[in-house]
């Protein structure tokens, strides 16, 4: 009971330390502008596209609120998490370490784990506050008549939360290693911006770089943006965040010998390495997108699941070729989630230019001793070919097609809300939060 009271007192102290900083409120106000800008631009483009679909239901099918509104809206959260949140996390994690406050806190009658947990909880709560403008953006979209599918929205929020957890872990570790807040910020931004660089160079880089980029936090977040819930992505993002917090906790403990810190860190790094290395084998994944963009039709998937023997695919295309990327997106990614015994080999000839190699552009299939080849990269031709190899009839697709959700809305009031009302509200809250607390005023009254 006493421990609980002490922990709640510590949590209150950590919360006060967070909300008293101008940086926290400044970040929230900046997030209002980012969100407003993202939402207004997205709704303008979505409205324009919607207007052109009037009378053409076929065209309306291409209008998904996930792509058109939610992903751009949450893009502001991604920017804030990548560029602004690290500063908050570093301040919360490292400020008392630099000014000596942690020497006092280390002597509280609370375990080290609880003290670190209180700090981590407040950092994560600060990230949750950054979600508020985005959540209000979704409310505004729905209030204007927009459509939101809950599983899609929840999945996207979860992806950003896990990405925020990873960045928070990196910031926590950076705060423990750096002597100054600025050095900590540089370390964390090196991590977050390094992920951008990795994504950029992986497109035309070596195989190992491409493999690394496929399992980087930004790539995992991208899967959530596509409406996919991939357990392996959750495992990777969660493990990276936990490792960051764990390593940070080790290096923040000034009372431990250096040798012990290295030993504990090595254990964490080994466990992290094992989890990351094994994560691609964690297969479960669900397509939560309303338009089932990441899946074949239910009938086709049911038929494919009956292909229990190994399927080998050899792709004679350069990975830089747009056909390769299309085949990867519309066939391979979907097959991987259905066929556990799928093996894919990329055969890149020495002379990759078309016309110099007869097999360039061909994709070879081998299943149950039978082989087939095709130059097609689309499901209309590839799936019948696979069913033919397996000896199954082509299933008929009776799934109703995605209707699309076009919307032309008046977005005039959104500017006033996101650029005026909400920042002013947060500015007012800044003033309230930075006023003297109630406890000592009460105390003075008792004294007098």
């Amino acid at each position: 009971m006493h421990s609980l009271k002490r922990l709640s007192a510590l949590l209150m102290l950590e919360c006060r330390l967070m909300v008293r900083t101008r940086a926290f409120w400044g970040t929230l106000i900046a997030q209002c502008f980012l969100t407003g800008s993202g939402l207004i631009q997205a709704m303008r483009l979505y409205g324009g596209a919607s207007a052109s679909t009037v009378g053409y239901p076929e065209m309306a099918r291409g209008l998904s609120p996930l792509d058109g509104i939610l992903v751009p809206l949450f893009g502001s959260l991604y920017l804030a998490t990548t560029l602004l949140f690290p500063f908050l996390a570093i301040r919360a994690a490292g400020e008392e370490r630099r000014n000596g406050g942690d020497k006092l806190l280390a002597q509280l009658p609370l375990s080290r784990g609880l003290r670190i947990s209180a700090k981590v909880l407040v950092i994560l709560a600060a990230w949750c506050c950054l979600v508020i403008p985005c959540a209000l953006g979704v409310v505004a979209w729905v209030a204007l008549g927009g459509h939101v599918q809950i599983p899609e929205f929840a999945n996207l929020t979860l992806g950003h939360a896990l990405y925020g957890f990873t960045v928070a872990g990196a910031a926590f570790l950076a705060a423990s290693l750096a002597r100054t807040g600025a050095a900590g910020a540089i370390l964390t931004l090196s991590f977050t911006l390094g992920l951008w660089a990795l994504e950029y160079y992986a497109g035309s880089g070596r195989d190992w770089l491409r493999a690394l980029a496929q399992h980087a936090p930004t790539a995992d977040l991208h899967r959530f943006e596509l409406g996919l819930f991939v357990l392996a992505s959750c495992v990777r993002l969660g493990a990276l965040g936990l490792a960051g917090f764990g390593l940070g906790a080790i290096w923040m403990d000034d009372g431990s010998a250096l040798r012990l810190k290295w030993a504990r860190s090595t254990v964490i790094l080994l466990v992290l390495g094992a989890v990351l290395a094994e994560s691609p084998w964690v297969r479960p994944a669900w397509d939560l997108s309303e338009d089932r963009r990441n899946s074949f039709s239910p009938a086709e998937e049911a038929a494919l699941r009956r292909m229990w023997q190994p399927l080998e695919i050899a792709i004679h295309l350069s990975p830089e070729d747009s056909r390769y990327r299309e085949f990867e997106a519309v066939i391979l990614d979907k097959l991987r989630r259905i066929l556990p015994r799928l093996s894919v080999a990329t055969v890149v000839p020495h002379r990759v230019h078309e016309g110099e190699d007869d097999t360039y552009g061909l994709i070879f299939y081998r299943y149950a001793g039978k082989t087939a080849e095709s130059r097609s990269t689309g499901p209309e031709e590839v799936l019948p070919l696979l069913f033919q190899l397996a000896g199954f009839p082509i299933p008929s697709d009776e799934t109703p097609s995605y209707p699309g959700f076009p919307l032309v809305a008046d977005i005039g009031s959104l500017s006033i809300f996101f650029y005026g009302v909400l920042p002013l509200l947060f500015a007012g809250l800044t003033w309230i939060a930075r006023r003297p607390g109630r406890s000592h005023i009460q105390f003075r009254e008792v004294q007098s």
Partner: protein, 232 residues
């Protein structure tokens, strides 16, 4: 009784503390004296397990206290820190009261004794050096551990404030063991019952002023400063 034996602390090739030990009895104030760089702060941080020592042990009531359990018996009030700068003094005293299970009455007494009333509503970061020092002392006095380690508790105080704090610490020593590090001999002589003389991380003498005088072969009129110079 608190016993410290053979504390060794190295920073790379440099030995900051070499076999430092002392004994502190209930109801007394032990002063650790030494010039700047003698290792006083390092010793206190090692004792409070805020910095790892390479050797030595701490015994409480005759039993060794593991590093992890030091916070059960020792509270260290550091010097020269500027924590919680955005929080008001009253909020932080309130926090320490709750964290250490002290009563509101005890908090009021500490605040009144250190004359912190006028600055309770002010953020710690805006306080003068004297008030900040008193606020830090109030946090230490609100702790509940039986041994209080204080690093340079008079640094930043004028003569009147120093005398006031001496009185407060004397009262506190009635129910706790106080170990204070000082480099001003006049302050030390006013406050402490016994002394540990520390120079370049090595102990040069331990005991009451009388026993140190005898050890140094000085007359009964020699003050602490003369004893210190004779022994170091």
């Amino acid at each position: 009784m608190l016993e410290v034996r053979g504390i060794v602390k190295r920073f790379g090739q440099c030995t900051a503390l070499q076999g430092v030990g002392f004994t502190a009895r209930p109801g007394e104030i032990l002063g650790i004296l030494g010039p700047n760089g003698a290792g006083k702060t390092t010793l206190l941080e090692c004792l409070a397990a805020l910095s790892p020592a390479q050797g030595g042990e701490v015994l409480w009531e005759g039993k060794p206290v593991a590093t992890k359990r030091r916070r059960d018996i020792l509270f260290y009030g550091p010097d020269g820190i500027t924590p919680f700068s955005d929080l008001c003094v009253g909020e932080v005293t309130d926090f320490f009261r709750k964290a250490f299970g002290r009563s509101l009455d005890e908090e009021q007494k500490v605040v009144a004794a250190l004359a912190l009333g006028p600055v309770l509503a002010k953020p710690l970061g805006t306080l003068s050096k004297g008030y900040r020092k008193r606020a830090l002392l109030s946090f230490a006095l609100l702790s509940s551990q039986p041994v209080l380690l204080l690093d340079e508790p008079f640094d930043g105080f004028d003569l009147r404030q120093t005398l006031g704090v001496v009185e407060i610490l004397r009262r506190e020593a009635g129910h706790r063991i106080l170990v204070v590090s000082l480099h001003q001999m006049t302050d030390a002589q006013k406050l402490c019952d016994r002394f540990l003389l520390l120079v370049e991380g090595r102990p040069r003498g331990e005991g009451s002023l009388d026993s140190l005088r005898a050890h140094a072969g000085l007359s009964d009129h020699a003050d602490l400063e003369e004893v210190f110079l004779a022994l170091t």
